[in-house]
């Protein structure tokens, strides 16, 4: 199939605005009479508020209002209504909003914060999801049983577990009894920040006539609108959410973050816009954080490396409120077996309240958490069996005819992980380069015997590398310098969009007077290039040159068609489908209008290259321009009216998971990929240099190669941070010790490896031009690929992230290799 626009690296629609500084982000907006808000945040991780006195702050210069949680009508939440936009009588994490000062300028608002007096009665604090899940842990939501929640959420009353998902297939007891080898380990992925370069910000005006307008740096204006409507008791038609350019989202601006808080604040100063932009340090505790998961993983394997069974328990840190994390728990549960067919499965994923900031969506959404376990496990198994990590993956890979963990059978259009693996392996030098440099172990080993209940160790922290394998240097490329060793590793992945079964996407295409079109969607352009890709899809579907297609850059809930939210890597797929439907409808209207004018049956007309023409006699045509301007005949009688196409898409045939077995149809499509790393480890300092990161992904159809590569590069480097340097550090009192970019380090330009993105294109039946999602996937299995490469280079096995220089030195010392 050849296309005109699809498949081309066309320039981004928003490029010129962004290189000139013209692109407007929330903080660039100032409105007449605008006030500024600053938030007083709890310094206690878990406490009852026993006193709150704002009178002195009210008297400070420039202060217009001091808003507290008093009088908040109801709890909010899209899945579980378990939170207020600001604390009412209790705080559950350090950073929870306690009061907000509104003043004429930000400096005045900030300085007035110091005069607010709060007294607390401290409660016991727990920040670790595993500990919080134990009986006897401090209860963070004692009354969670009464919270309103959506169907399909299974809390464990009387505990901190707000959602539990079980996935069961076959009989794991038999599988483990019959296994040649059992490998059991615990894996820890710490909490991380998204580090969007643009801080969260919003401006809200509560109108005197009732109703609210908000500019927000959000991936989810319709979710924000919904939550604000519920909070303030307003109809959707009275709440307008406008999203200008968003400076990076990565999930951290999805659902809702600061918007309900600001709506509540704006309610107290009707008629005046209020701006709230978080500081970098506030982003650490004032929005959502990502990941934070303990995975206890047991694999049963046959002698020839076939996966017979997997038993896994996942404890996901939900933080103080679980609303945003419910579906991450589900995602982790259903993807814990990775891109492999496993006949016998028993997985339990728990979402656990703790006293950290709430965990929200973060590029990968549950998948990196479990792939860290699953894909490390594969290399450890391969090393035990003396098998190639490539071979063991290919043997077990899902593919056409195979069945995944939730019982969905893969079709031939669902993508090919085997091809992805082969591409990465070839790019990194062939299968021999990945062989474990270790002696095969015979028989079955349980690394940490005993089930979770019997084992009091919470999870691997600190020196948890187990020095099992010894490097032999076989097939190693010579290291660059003495004291430096190199290794290569791969990891493979499967990811599906985790979304409500009724996640809707709309598109409107208006024919403009010049014969071009204006496309409106509810999808947010936050850097991923979706507006450009959607314009390409529209151009292709309408057979128009791309310069004739505009995409309205701002999403505005007053005008833009509905969109669930811009998350789950589903925009190209879902909104792209909506656009194709809208284009079809527009073409239909065009041909029907032209049929009247040209006196030709509509079925004989086609829309090509900006014209509508008679298939049989192409010289009989109208330009779209003629139609759009309101075609009149010789007498001046109008024969055409404005032409607008609309497209409405909802995924077909999805269903809830069975509450007992976790079987069901919640994944609309999958993307398979493989990622490989080459690393160099300085055995004296422990320093890891990532030399190469190669990703191969079956994206169905590449709509725009440069943009697709850009997504994969960015995701890979972001995940490299999680692999080697990122992690939020909490102290005993639940305070974050590294809220700033001085203390929380992300990869910089000097850390950058050589990046490569390869594509496999197995067209997806349900996707526009065969495309499927690719935005998050590049972040899913970089950490295990890097750790697997480190394992090959050093023989050291790591189970908790990030794998820092410190941990490598500690592990070496434990093994007894002098530095």
């Amino acid at each position: 199939m050849t296309y005109q626009t699809v498949g081309q690296s066309v320039a981004r629609l928003d490029g010129i605005e962004k290189v000139t500084g013209e692109a407007v982000f929330v903080d660039d907006i100032s409105l007449p009479g605008m006030l500024h808000a600053r938030v007083l945040r709890s310094q206690r991780a878990h406490a009852l508020i026993t006193g709150l006195d704002v009178s002195e702050a009210m008297a400070q210069p420039g202060v217009v209002a001091v808003v507290t949680g008093r009088g908040l009508p109801r709890r909010i939440g899209a899945c579980i209504q378990d939170m207020y936009p600001m604390a009412v009588d209790r705080v559950r994490y350090v950073g929870e909003p306690v009061a907000v000062v509104v003043a004429e300028n930000p400096h005045q608002a900030h300085h007035a914060l110091a005069s607010i007096k709060v007294s607390y009665q401290d409660l016991a604090v727990v920040t670790d999801p595993w500990e919080a899940s134990r009986p006897g842990a401090p209860q963070i939501h004692p009354d969670q049983a009464v919270y309103h929640r959506l169907p399909g959420i299974h809390p464990l009353p009387g505990s901190n577990i707000f959602h539990r998902l079980q996935v069961c297939r076959g009989n794991t007891a038999d599988a483990f009894r019959e296994a040649f080898l059992v490998v059991e380990n615990r894996y820890w992925h710490p909490s991380i920040y998204h580090v969007q370069l643009e801080p969260h910000g919003a401006i809200a005006t509560y109108h005197q006539k009732g109703g609210l307008t908000m500019y927000a740096s959000s991936q989810a204006p319709y979710v924000v609108r919904h939550v604000i409507c519920e909070l303030l008791g307003l109809p959707p038609g009275r709440v307008r959410v406008i999203v200008p350019y968003v400076g990076g989202g990565f999930g951290g601006k999805s659902d809702h973050t600061i918007e309900p808080l600001l709506a509540w604040v704006a309610r107290h100063v009707p008629g005046r816009p209020v701006k709230l932009v978080l500081t970098r340090e506030e982003m650490a505790c004032g929005t959502v954080i990502g990941r934070g998961a303990l995975v206890h993983y047991r694999s049963a394997v046959s002698q020839d490396g076939m996966l017979l069974g997997v038993e896994a328990e996942v404890f996901l840190n939900g933080g103080g409120y679980g609303d945003f994390a419910v579906n991450i728990v589900t995602a982790a549960g259903i993807s814990a077996t990775g891109p492999y067919q496993v006949p016998n499965i028993k997985i339990t994923a728990h979402g656990v309240y703790t006293n950290t900031p709430p965990t929200g969506a973060c590029r990968g959404y549950g998948h990196p958490e479990v792939h860290w376990a699953c894909e490390r496990q594969m290399d450890i198994i391969a090393a035990r069996l003396g098998m190639s990590p490539v071979e063991i993956r290919l043997k077990n890979a899902l593919g056409p005819g195979k069945v995944n963990a939730i019982g969905q059978q893969m079709e031939s259009h669902n993508g090919r992980v085997d091809l992805c693996i082969q591409q990465v392996v070839d790019a990194l030098g062939g299968p021999e380069c990945f062989l474990p440099r270790t002696n095969p172990c015979v028989g079955s080993i349980a690394l940490e015997p005993g089930g979770i209940e019997a084992d009091p160790l919470p999870h691997p922290t600190g020196a948890n590398a187990s020095p099992k394998a010894e490097p032999s240097g076989a097939c190693a490329k010579p290291a660059a310098m003495p004291g430096k060793v190199r290794g290569k590793g791969i990891a493979a992945l499967m990811k599906c969009p985790i979304m409500p079964t009724n996640a809707q996407s709309g598109a409107i295409i208006k024919l403009e007077e010049d014969g071009g079109v204006m496309v409106s969607v509810g999808a947010i352009e936050m850097g991923q290039g979706c507006h450009t890709v959607l314009a390409q899809i529209a151009a292709e579907a309408l057979s128009l040159p791309l310069e004739r297609v505009q995409v309205a850059p701002q999403v505005d809930t007053f005008h833009s068609p509905y969109e669930w939210q811009t998350v789950a890597s589903h925009t190209t797929w879902a909104v792209g489908n909506a656009i194709r439907l809208a284009a079809a409808q527009l073409c239909d209207k065009i041909t029907r209008a032209a049929a009247v004018i040209l006196q030709v049956p509509a079925e004989r007309l086609e829309v090509v290259g900006g014209r509508v023409q008679d298939r049989e006699r192409p010289e009989r045509y109208l330009t779209l321009q003629q139609l759009a301007r309101g075609y009149t005949d010789a007498r001046g009688t109008a024969l055409s009216a404005p032409l607008i196409g609309e497209g409405n898409f909802v995924p077909q045939g999805l269903s809830h998971l069975d509450p007992e077995t976790g079987q069901g149809n919640i994944a609309a499509d999958w993307t398979f990929a493989c990622q490989g790393a080459e690393v160099e480890v300085d055995t004296r300092t422990g320093e890891v240099t990532v030399l190469r990161l190669v990703s191969a992904m079956d994206v169905g159809k590449v709509i725009n190669p440069v943009l697709a590569e850009g997504q994969i590069y960015g995701a890979a480097v972001q995940a490299m941070g999680a692999a080697i340097c990122e992690g939020i550090v909490f102290d005993r009192e639940g305070r974050i010790r590294n809220p700033s970019l001085t203390d929380y380090k992300v990869p910089g330009v000097e850390d950058m490896p050589e990046l490569q993105a390869l594509f496999v294109e197995t067209p997806e039946e349900s996707g526009p031009y065969g495309a499927r999602g690719l935005g998050e996937h590049g972040a899913v299995c970089v950490p295990p690929a890097i750790a697997n490469a480190i394992q090959q280079a050093t023989g050291l096995e790591f189970f908790d992230l990030p794998v820092t220089a410190e941990k490598i030195i500690r592990a070496q010392q434990k093994r007894g290799v002098p530095a």
């Binding site: 203390d743 820092t804 220089a805």
Partner: protein
């Protein structure tokens, strides 16, 4: 947020600067890369900010009786480019790894020393060159070995009204080297660092950063290594002594005490092997 009610003065001369800095809650502002950050974080709330960047006496890198005079206002970017300072390699390396381009354009050596961070990337290597700090104040001028300048983390001997005018570096040693550990290769503060120098008489000087409240020299290690050919045994012994001598605080986010102790050995070993490779220390 910055202090709302502060005042700003840019004095035209040294005398004016000194009298301004004698006022309560006055603070010298050089490149501001520490001062502005600390003000924003609320750690520093000066009433008066005295911008010393106009003071000619604090500028410049000049040769002086075999050694070099480095004005307090000399920036990291200037140090990196200075032909005169290339013989003091460790400090050029330290300046070169500080922050990033934009930081190095503003950050001054006087500010790095004046800020008295335990890990200052200019202060730590500077120590191995035995410089004198030239201090100007209400009582006139005084000199002090840099090693005696620091009083603790963020604390110095400077009295109200006193300013660092610059540093007098004795003639350069034969060899010097600076190295540090950071969590990323990109911009980061040092988790642990070490500078070493060997002069023409075989005297070895060693300093470390981020292992004590101030940049610190290690006389016991220097003694062990000085005045004799460096053998692997001596180096290994010195490395153990150095590692045992440091007692880093456990609360650092950048490196644990155990790692710092290990790196003390590795860095010293690396520095001295480099010296041997380059033909020094035999």
């Amino acid at each position: 947020m910055m202090p709302l009610h502060m005042e700003y003065v840019k004095p035209g001369g040294l005398a004016e600067a000194v009298s301004l800095l004698r006022q309560d809650d006055a603070c010298a502002l050089a490149g501001g890369t520490d001062v502005v950050v600390q003000m924003r974080e609320g750690k520093l709330r000066p009433r008066l900010v005295v911008d010393i960047k106009g003071l000619a006496e604090l500028q410049g890198i000049t040769g002086q009786s075999g050694g070099v005079w480095v004005g307090a206002l000399v920036t990291m970017a200037e140090i990196v480019k200075s032909p005169l300072l290339q013989a003091y390699r460790a400090v050029v390396q330290g300046a070169g790894c500080m922050g990033c381009c934009e930081i190095r354009h503003r950050a001054t050596i006087g500010g790095n020393v004046g800020n008295a961070s335990p890990s200052g990337d200019a202060a730590v290597p500077l120590l191995v060159f035995h410089p004198q700090v030239v201090i100007h104040g209400p009582g006139g001028q005084r000199h002090l070995p840099l090693a005696n300048f620091f009083r603790g983390a963020g604390k110095t001997v400077l009295q109200p009204g006193e300013l660092i005018k610059g540093f007098l570096l004795p003639p350069p040693p034969a060899f010097s080297l600076y190295m540090r550990h950071t969590r990323v290769k990109g911009m980061d503060l040092a988790g642990v660092s070490l500078a070493a120098a060997i002069d023409r008489q075989g005297q070895v000087t060693v300093s470390m950063g981020a292992v004590a409240p101030t940049p610190t020299r290690f006389p016991q290690v220097e003694e062990l290594l000085s005045g004799r050919p460096l053998s692997w045994e001596v180096i290994a012994q010195a490395a153990e002594v150095l590692s045992a001598a440091i007692t880093p605080r456990a609360t650092s986010l950048r490196a644990t005490p155990a790692y710092k102790k290990e790196m003390a050995k590795v860095f010293l070993h690396t520095a001295l092997s480099r010296a041997l490779e380059e033909g020094f220390g035999q």
